[in-house]
């Protein structure tokens, strides 16, 4: 039974491209196979001749770049610096824009929504009567309590002068802006 190594195994072995386990296998096979040993010897001679031939081909050639070519390689240097400068500047500008936007966003949003909340308030405005306030029909609303003569007609005209309820976008009630209820006398 012929038990020879494959030709690839011998080539890979000669070129030292086998791992330790494969190498051990090939060497163990070679012990009992004269033909494999001769094959390895012939392949090693071919390798030596090839390396010698490759080296001889280049003998006498000046394998170096000339000074002009070298200077052209490193002549790219200034543009590399400017490229870095522009890159850093662009990054800084983008960061500054993000910070400015984050600072200005609440103000912009407030201005945008104030118009909306005013329109909504006008659309939803109802004459708040004392009875409705006392009946707590809209417990979420901050009532504008007008204590007056109790005359609903005068109450209505009085209510036209009273500013409507204003709510900020966050839902919080700005007490500083809220008109204090008129409690009569010098309570305010």
């Amino acid at each position: 039974m012929q038990n020879r190594l494959r030709s690839e195994d011998i080539t890979h072995y000669v070129l030292n491209e086998l791992d330790s386990r494969e190498r051990l296998y090939v060497e163990s096979m070679m012990l009992d196979c004269e033909a494999s040993r001769e094959d390895v010897a012939a392949m090693m001679e071919t390798v030596a001749l090839l390396e010698e031939g490759m080296e001889a081909e280049l003998k006498g050639l000046d394998l170096r770049l000339d000074a002009e070519r070298r200077s052209m390689i490193f002549a790219q240097q200034p543009s590399q610096i400017w490229e870095g400068v522009w890159r850093v500047a662009a990054t800084a500008a983008a960061l500054a824009a993000c910070v400015a936007f984050s600072v200005a966003a609440p103000v912009i949003t407030k201005l945008a929504f104030r118009g909306e909340s005013s329109k909504a308030a006008v659309a939803a405005r109802q004459i708040i009567t004392v009875d409705a306030v006392l009946a707590e029909e809209d417990p979420a609303a901050f009532p504008i309590l007008v204590v007056g003569s109790g005359d609903s007609q005068s109450l209505g005209s009085a209510l036209e002068d009273v500013p409507s309820r204003v709510l900020l976008p966050t839902g919080a009630v700005n007490f500083a802006d809220m008109p204090m209820p008129y409690l009569g006398g010098d309570a305010n």
Partner: protein, 184 residues
């Protein structure tokens, strides 16, 4: 800050040139067969290296350089549509003119004949043989440079070596026949 970075880049490219200038010139010359064009190719290779970020290439600098060099060399070759064949007479003219023992002479003749046979290999085989025996790249490095799989590299190299050996042995047999015929 920018000066330091530029200086580091320059030093990096310079160290790469010290290490790879000659091997790259060898490799490019083996493809384009013209020293000046090989120098142009290697110049282009290092100019491209200068534009790269060091961190992106660190760890596989050799493969990157040889791959770029290969692509540039093939582009030069295609643009000129020229295949330069090394004539045996040209190769022999480079051999030593010093008188040598018969054994050395015979060996030089065998080497010359083998290099002629290398030119008769297929382009793939020729390239893999040169990367291995001229630039001493491993199977993995040749795979990275050429885009072939490691298995393919081994297969092609084995086929090339076997082909070269068979032709050399055939030439040896033919020489013996000729010799015996003459002496008969």
């Amino acid at each position: 800050m920018f000066g330091t970075k530029a200086q580091k880049k320059t030093e990096w490219v310079q160290s790469a040139m010290v290490r790879y200038e000659k091997p790259l010139l060898q490799y490019s010359y083996s493809i384009v067969r013209d020293l000046e064009r090989a120098r142009d190719v290697v110049q282009e290779t290092f100019m491209r290296l200068f534009k790269q970020e060091q961190e992106a290439i660190e760890g596989h600098l050799s493969q990157w350089l040889f791959t770029v060099c290969r692509n540039c060399s093939l582009k030069v070759l295609r643009s000129q549509e020229r295949y330069v064949h090394v004539e045996s007479s040209e190769f022999e003219s480079r051999s030593s003119n010093e008188p040598s023992p018969a054994f050395e002479m015979e060996r030089k003749e065998r080497v010359a004949r083998l290099m002629e046979l290398v030119q008769e290999l297929t382009p793939n085989q020729r390239e893999v043989v040169r990367l291995r025996f001229q630039n001493f790249h491993s199977y993995q490095e040749i795979s990275d440079i050429t885009g072939l799989t490691v298995g393919n590299v081994g297969f092609i190299l084995n086929a090339a070596m076997r082909s070269l050996r068979e032709k050399m042995e055939r030439d040896d047999r033919e020489e013996k026949i000729i010799y015996l015929t003459k002496t008969a």
